[in-house]
Amino acid sequence: MDFELANEYALRILQGEGKLHEELVTMCIPRLLYLRNTLGFRMIPEAEVVHELAADAVADALFKQETRKLPFTICLHNTFRDLCRSRKNIIRDRHIKDLFETNGIRMSPSLTGGKQPEAVEVQVQNNEIFQLAKDILEDHEPFSKKVVIQKSRGFTYLEMAKTYDKEDKECKRVYWHDMNQLRTIFNSKANN
């Protein structure tokens, strides 16, 4: 993707040259695939980026460019990352749901992200669990807390590695170490 040309096309589209839209999407695809690969979103199929996410990202980036008065390329970059994270979370939730099912684990629907209504006493119990987890997270060491929160928001280890200037393996290690530590604290408090 030629950044200058993409910015120019975006401006012309916003000035009414709608026929350039499709050309701009095609032009952006290699760049979006590059972001997908280098930011660790390979779990999103390439075809999905080409046939779905690219058009969504360009449309949203054009809208942001108009409303936020920012260059198209930075809007595209941020928008595409948002889309990938949200897509990654959908894939993650589906994967975890599959893990529950395939391993024959049963638990409260609201704890598995379900929306079915539950008995009042179960809701109260779950709210207590959430509050306890919130408190434990609140007291946690800042960098580790950041890693846990970002991972939960859909960031990849590679994204975190770039932001914090660390190796992706280290971010993964910190994340799992902290999840295990938080889980131990959570279990001991929940059992008391």
Binding site: F3, K64, L70, H95, I96, I129, E159, W176
Partner: protein
Amino acid sequence: MECPGKEIIQDYIDGELSPEQAKSVQSHIQSCQNCKTELNEILTFHNVINTVVSEDKCPPLDTLQDYINNGCKDDNLTKHIEFCDRCSSYAWAFQASPGELEAWQKRQELSYQEYKSKELGYDTAKETLTKLLPSRIDLLEKAWQSVLRFVLDLKTKAIENWPSFEQGPQLVGALGFDEASDPETDAASIILSTTLYISQMVNDGEIELNQQSIETVIKEVSIKLGAGKQLQKRLIETVPPLIMKSQRD
């Protein structure tokens, strides 16, 4: 099967195992009560954390922009931005000067070009090695990083100023194969390095994209790297069409 280690369980939950590995872990878990309990606890805790984190929703971009325009006075938002890289990158863009935005774009463009050039070089080098020395395709992954470093170094210093590489073992040594300097490894190193070198030069606009220019550089580089006449001839037959095809695509 023994109980899988912690890292395997983590990769299983992250969805990073191959389908075969995942299947074998899964079949173990179904027959091992300890692992089942452990997995249950981990998954439950994951969901609890995901629910808690998702309650702290990112603010709409309008709110974020107002916050920046009004001098970042909202403590709750400051706290959120501190822990949310997504919002902090939008906040940065909202308050960046045109010069900063331009510098960001230049950096992005540069790393994108570098990546593209490496990808193209990799594909062409792989295809060349597959055609010329399929029995040593295993050297591709093993040598790739050192080939890349070697070629970038070679390019920076310019081939004519580079010490003579007419002896194979020297090149093989530079690529980390000093203990295995057999003729096939030498040839594979020359194939990979020459192809990547040419591909990078074309991509960087240092030579023109035509048969004759590419041939000239192949002769120059492959001789320096120690290629025999037969290998030179085969490189000249194979590399230019591949490079021209990859650049057209």
